[in-house]
Amino acid sequence: MDDTTEAKLAVLDAMNTSLGKITNVQIRLTLAGETDLANQLDTHRQALLAQIEKLQGQVADQWTVKAAALTEKLQAANGDLQTRIQNIKNQVDVANNAIQIIGQIDGALKLLETVVP
């Protein structure tokens, strides 16, 4: 693999971390009976999943983008997600935190579109 593959793999790792956290939020919302919020989140989760799969296809086919800066941004977004998950766990402003998470996923997707147009 080429020199930047390591950086690209780091992006995939960060995206998987986001996916894991979002999946956990969706599980909690579903189990709490927050069906509407869970469904809204699911749409965005599916979009993130599609983007991850697209990137994985590109790695398998030697995709070539500069990814290190993106990883940093995704890692920061993951830190923020963790705080919001904690709030949802503690039943603090569940709806608002879930909506903020959806907004963050959209932000991440926009960022990722610069990687895989």
Binding site: M1, E6, L9, Q26, I27, L49, Q56, A60, D61
Partner: protein, 321 residues
């Protein structure tokens, strides 16, 4: 990323076999063949482990495609093969699909990884022959035979390098540089251990590149496993009434797979020091060789994880029946 069939690979192996039986009447420097044989044997274990993991990724991706077609997310029309070039009826692709399915890309990825392993194994086996550990014992190939061998090794390595994006040397030889070939030939002609040691040293940067590329390939497989886990855990965790067993089974197989991949990555990492040790192994009384010992241990550890994973998979399969 097109991976041609590795014809030179079989030619290289055939040549190695021939070399094993041709008597050229020339003696050679007495080199301990043990470390070279051990190196080649460990690489075989790595090949088996990595191919089974890459194969599992292909299978998982194929199954997902089947599910997407069943739910209408992907049209069956996208699965029809198309002949790329009418003048070449042997090559087809998923040309009718809006985008090529990931599983087709993963098949090529698996072939690329296999080509990389094959290139390293063929090189390791040629070192066994050069150290006098082939079927012909102390009988070494002629310079002309070695030229052919080097050409084949570079062709195999070139296939792998192009499949996995490995940087090749400034002289565009994927594995054995012009200098390395000259040093190996000097060893064949003069039977001096020093030449063999220098030749191995000359190949070291290429082995470093290849082992690094293999580690990245294994890292990539780990990302596939993690994504797959998050896809599968959501429906299991939200099912009513709640049932922990399928989640725990999924956790077991996922963790066993990741542990196997981690062991595989460590093993590939150990290849660098083990190859470096081969240089020292050409000495009259080699000592230490801790890199080779580490690689052997990693290969054994890997086998343990592979066995554990097989058990976890069998348990999970039994639970779903």
């Amino acid at each position: 990323m097109k991976v041609p069939l590795t014809k030179p690979q079989s030619r290289a192996l055939a040549l190695l076999l021939v070399l094993g039986v041709i008597v050229l009447g020339a003696g050679c420097a007495s080199v301990d063949t043990g470390p070279f044989t051990q190196f080649a044997s460990s690489l075989q274990s790595l090949r088996t482990g990595s191919d089974s993991q890459a194969g599992a990724a292909v299978t998982a991706s194929r199954q997902e495609l089947v599910e997407k077609v069943a739910t209408g997310e992907v049209s069956p029309g996208a699965l029809q093969l198309e002949v790329d070039n009418p003048s070449n009826p042997y090559v087809t692709s998923y040309g009718f699909a809006e985008k090529e399915p990931n599983f087709a890309k993963l098949i090529r990825f698996r072939q690329g990884l296999a080509a990389l392993n094959d290139a390293m194994i063929a090189y390791a086996q040629s070192l066994v022959v050069l150290s006098g550990g082939g079927q012909g014992g102390d009988i070494l190939p002629t310079s002309a035979q070695f030229d052919q061998m080097a050409q084949d090794l570079n062709a195999n390595a070139g296939t792998a390098a192009s499949a996995l994006g490995v940087n090749i040397g400034p002289d565009q030889q994927a594995l054995l540089s012009t200098v390395a070939v000259q040093l190996f030939k000097a060893y064949i002609e003069n039977k001096r251990r020093k030449d063999l040691a220098e030749a191995i040293g000359e190949v070291q940067p290429r082995i470093d590149e290849f082992s690094h590329a293999a580690q990245e390939a294994v890292h990539f497989l780990a990302t596939m496993v993690n994504t797959d886990y998050d896809k599968k855990v959501l429906p299991l965790a939200t099912v009513q009434p709640p049932n922990a067993t399928p989640i725990l089974n999924l956790n077991d197989t996922t963790q066993a797979t990741l542990a196997t991949l981690e062991a595989l990555s460590s093993s590939y990492g150990a290849v660098r020091d083990a190859h470096r040790d081969l240089k020292a192994a050409t000495a009259k009384k080699p000592s230490g060789l801790s890199g080779l010992i580490a690689l052997t241990n990693e290969a054994i550890r890997l086998q343990g994880f592979v066995n554990q994973l097989a058990k976890a998979n069998a348990t999970a399969a039994a639970a779903t029946q």
